[in-house]
């Protein structure tokens, strides 16, 4: 069998065009010849790697950003300087952050809960995308657009509409609850955020817990809000420092 014939046979196998007899024959050949087994494995893995469009896209973005802002532009000296300078700025930024937090705590001492909520709350960015270029999801597009345009009433009803068909989608549930929070539908927001927060394996579970605390706090349920923030502090996630800070502020508010 020539190389070309082998390639054609393997491709037919991967495309599911071989009958049982032919498959058995190919498997026998692969067993007897590790080279053929390796060839099948390589061609199969190539398909898997290229089918991961999101990984390809992410890697392209990483390469692009690296070229733009971080590559050394053919100058090793410039590259060598880039990071230490950044580190200096980071140290400065860290110092400034401490000052801002201290000022914030001082300022908040005389705030009521609503002001405190406003101080900590900020709209959550939109990270949902409609991936398929071939058949973009119009309903989801509408919901995303409404959320991005801060038309939360429309966003809430659009997301809710999608959620009916896809009730286990934690991303959709998260943004439905976030939209509800914006239009002061606290029971809806709390129920949705609670559900997402309890799904430990969702990428939205940590932010959902944080916003759940804020939603409870804004709705006047300070006792449960405090519990949620205490959990966040203990779990040491990206929101722990903020939770610690708001707990301090809660204890000093009127």
């Amino acid at each position: 069998m020539t190389e070309l014939e082998l390639a054609q046979l393997i491709e037919s196998y991967l495309e599911g065009r071989l009958d049982e007899k032919e498959i058995a024959l190919l498997k026998e050949k692969a067993k007897a010849d590790p080279g053929i087994a390796a060839e099948i494995s390589l061609r199969k893995e190539l398909e898997i790697a290229i089918a991961e469009e999101d990984v390809l896209k992410l890697e392209s973005k990483l390469i692009e950003e690296r070229k733009k802002g971080w590559a050394n532009n053919n100058s090793s000296q410039q590259g060598a300087k880039a990071v230490p300078i950044l580190l200096k700025y980071r140290a400065l930024a860290a110092g400034l952050a401490v000052i801002i937090v201290c000022a914030l705590v001082f300022f908040l001492k005389n705030q009521d809960p609503k002001d405190l909520y406003e101080a900590y709350y900020q709209p959550y960015p939109m990270y949902l995308t409609t991936r398929s270029v071939i058949s973009p999801d119009e309903k989801l597009n509408q919901a995303i657009q409404a959320y991005e345009q801060e038309n939360y009433e429309a966003a809430w009803s659009s997301f809710l509409n999608i959620l009916v068909d896809d009730p286990d989608n934690m991303g959709i549930m998260f943004y439905t609850a976030m939209s509800a929070l914006h239009i002061d539908r606290y029971p809806d927001a709390v129920a949705g955020l609670k559900k997402v927060a309890n799904q430990g394996n969702s990428i939205y579970s940590n932010p959902a817990e944080w916003y759940l605390g804020l939603a409870l706090f804004k709705s006047g349920d300070v006792r449960n809000a405090r519990k949620v923030f205490e959990n966040i502090v203990e779990s040491k996630t990206d929101f722990s420092e903020d939770a610690k800070s708001i707990l301090k502020s809660i204890s000093t508010t009127k």
Partner: protein
């Protein structure tokens, strides 16, 4: 009053949002550069490690069983550290003073995903060297788009021709991969 920015790094990775990716570099790269350059590496190598670590974390996050129990940075740092350790061992450099793998992931699982990711990086980089038509055709094909739809989208005359073009494109890709000097080490 200035409010603290909340970032969901895993969601940023999933969306490929440019501003988010930029922020990711600004926030975490300096620590990884410091880790690698203080352990016999260069900045260029550090950037490579960073990029690979990001992709490993992202791919792990897509697994149903994945739970980010600690902060994103802790996880990213642990992954970067171990990627760099593996590269140092490969280069035959003496083992540096890295602490053991944290309980974030199973060691075998981790080694497998690193090895797989190294192979996939090679595949993806060769894929980018193909013509844009070949890239589009293979993407559609590997994502199981029906042949009739592929013919329409690519403007081909027939299903037969689409199959022929797909075979040619894939053979080009296989050749590019096999011709890479690192190919044998990775397989």
């Amino acid at each position: 009053m200035e409010k603290k920015e909340k970032q969901n790094w895993l969601a940023i990775l999933g969306s490929g949002n440019s501003a988010g990716i930029r922020l990711l570099y600004q926030e975490f790269l300096p620590s990884i550069v410091s880790l690698v350059t203080s352990n016999s590496g260069t900045e260029e190598e550090a950037m490579d490690v960073f990029q690979e670590a990001i992709l490993v974390v992202y791919k792990k996050s897509k697994e149903g069983s994945f739970e980010l129990s600690s902060s994103f940075f802790t996880y990213l740092y642990a992954v970067s550290k171990n990627i760099w350790l593996k590269r140092l061992t490969k280069k035959g450099k003496p083992t540096v003073t890295f602490s053991e793998l944290p309980e974030l992931m199973d060691v075998d699982d981790f080694n497998n995903i690193i090895l797989e990711e190294e192979r996939y990086r090679l595949f993806r980089s060769k894929f980018r060297n193909l013509s844009s038509n070949c890239q589009k055709l293979l993407s559609l094909f590997f994502n199981k788009t029906p042949m009739k739809e592929i013919v329409e989208l690519m403007g081909f005359g027939s299903v037969q021709y689409a199959k022929k073009r797909k075979f040619q494109c894939k053979e080009n890709l296989v050749k590019l991969v096999k011709d890479d000097p690192n190919f044998k080490d990775l397989m």
